[in-house]
Amino acid sequence: MIGEWFEKLSLYLRFAPVQHALIVGVLIALCAALLGVTLVLKRFSYIGDGLSHVAFGAMSIAAVLNLTHQMWLILPITILSAILLLRTGQNAKIKGDAAIAMISVGALAFGYLLMNIYNTSSNLTGDVCSTLFGSTSILTLRDSDVWLCVILSIIVVIIFILFYNKIFAVTFDEDFAKATGTRANAYNLLIAVVIAVIIVMAMNFVGSLLISALVIFPALSAMRLFRSFKSVTIFSAVLSVICALVGMLISILAGTPVGSTIVAVDAAAFVICFLTGAVKGGIRA
């Protein structure tokens, strides 16, 4: 049985599309986990959810307009919404969480409506379903998509490393950072832009409804076990990559949908980390 799986796996792994899918999956999982720690700690977990729905809306517009390079429309719209959401969080005329909920459901409804009215495809439900929950389409990634994803991921990781100390300062205590002269607003903006980029990249991969899971689960799992910012960040990145790999391999072998399989693995990892943390904490206390 195991030999059979192994044979099947090594057969699949020889295919270029499968290799591409694995590379893209790992990179997206890595980026999402790096920024996830900051988002969870800043109480911005929901921004990922909101933005992914905006990206869905933008994608339907791109589909209706019949654009070949949908990314060039989706990316700017999502980044713009990220900046807008962050601004509303600050001046609080409409409270941050309400603004996110409003934009998020609005974009979702608008996107579905557009797709319905200008229906060009024969299988609308299937199209919508695969945009929301991800699909096997990860195996039909075009070379240009793969390259774009690789380049964007490298940029995200470099930005994260260069600004790591500033991100920490702004996350831990924004007022202190501002008062002592750190340009906190600029770094908040940077975080928003980067998270928008990650979400757009991840949309093809796990689907727009499940992106938040990639952002939130690894960070929460790591926070159960580790006690410094650096170790939480590193562990959540490692865990996220492992979960993505395991999830993708399972989905290849068992023929399950990629996105939901990865999220299921992430959730299982969280349960394990939670229990381990509880046992360790229990002994210590």
């Binding site: 700690l41 100390n165 002592t180 910012f229 650096k230």
Partner: protein
């Protein structure tokens, strides 16, 4: 020239004024306590001094070579920090952040400054501990060490003893006084008027009536006598 000169300052939100026409100066080595009832605008004043909020009117001048980002700040604890996974050293190091400008990593001098300030506040053995597992008093010392990394001149403290037990409160005041003796200018917001009367060199009382002067002048004024009496009455109950 004084470190800080505040002229005709009016504070408030959305152009609604809470306090009008504040005038006071802070000189090198002063220990200024800002007292007043809840809602009198103490925290707003603090935010304005830190440039987190624009004043409704008036000016704040800095002098004696004090730069805008050379004010150390001990804020009240936020919800975010209560379960934040970070080691003490990481937090204290972040006090050096502003001076780094766009340079991405901390220098050796920054790290030495951190060790020095950990020793100064007697928390060097906590350096590797997780912030959220410390006691309230220890957490305040960590944030104080961070503030000392950001400044060599002025510390702004926002209710530094709120939520601490009497013994730790006394230690905290002792530590702040010690820092003041070492030459650091202290500006402290507190509603503990008795402590202000015990430790401060100058007192700014804001509220329906505004008073600014030395501690002696305050204790001699009707306002000072009145409030000290209320506090003592409150303690006796």
């Amino acid at each position: 020239m004084a470190l800080l000169t505040v002229q005709n300052l009016s504070l408030g939100y959305d152009n609604r004024t809470i306090v009008a026409d504040l005038n006071f100066v802070v000189n090198q080595g002063d220990y200024l306590c800002i007292v007043g009832e809840n809602g009198s605008g103490k925290s707003t004043l603090m935010k304005t001094l830190l440039h987190l909020q624009a004043p409704v009117g008036g000016t704040i001048l800095t002098g004696d070579g004090l730069k805008k980002n050379e004010i150390g700040y001990l804020p009240q604890q936020t919800m975010v920090q209560k379960d934040f996974p970070a080691s003490v050293r990481e937090i204290v190091l972040s006090g050096c952040q502003a001076r780094r400008g766009l340079r991405p990593f901390y220098s050796r001098e920054d790290k030495e400054l951190v060790e020095e300030n950990l020793k100064r506040l007697h928390i060097e053995d906590l350096a590797k501990r997780c912030y959220r597992e410390l006691s309230g008093g220890q957490q305040q010392r960590v944030l104080l060490a961070r503030a000392l990394c950001a400044t060599r001149k002025v510390l702004l403290l926002d209710e530094p003893v709120s939520g601490l037990d009497p013994k730790v409160t006394a230690e905290m005041y002792e530590m702040i006084t010690q820092l003041n003796r070492e030459g650091i200018t202290i500006i402290m917001i507190t509603h503990d008027i008795a402590a202000a009367a015990a430790y401060a060199s100058h007192i700014l009382h804001i509220g329906s009536t505004v008073f600014y002067g030395t501690k002696k002048e305050y204790l001699a004024s009707d306002l000072g006598k009145f409030f000290l009496k209320i506090t003592e009455g409150g303690d006796a109950q």
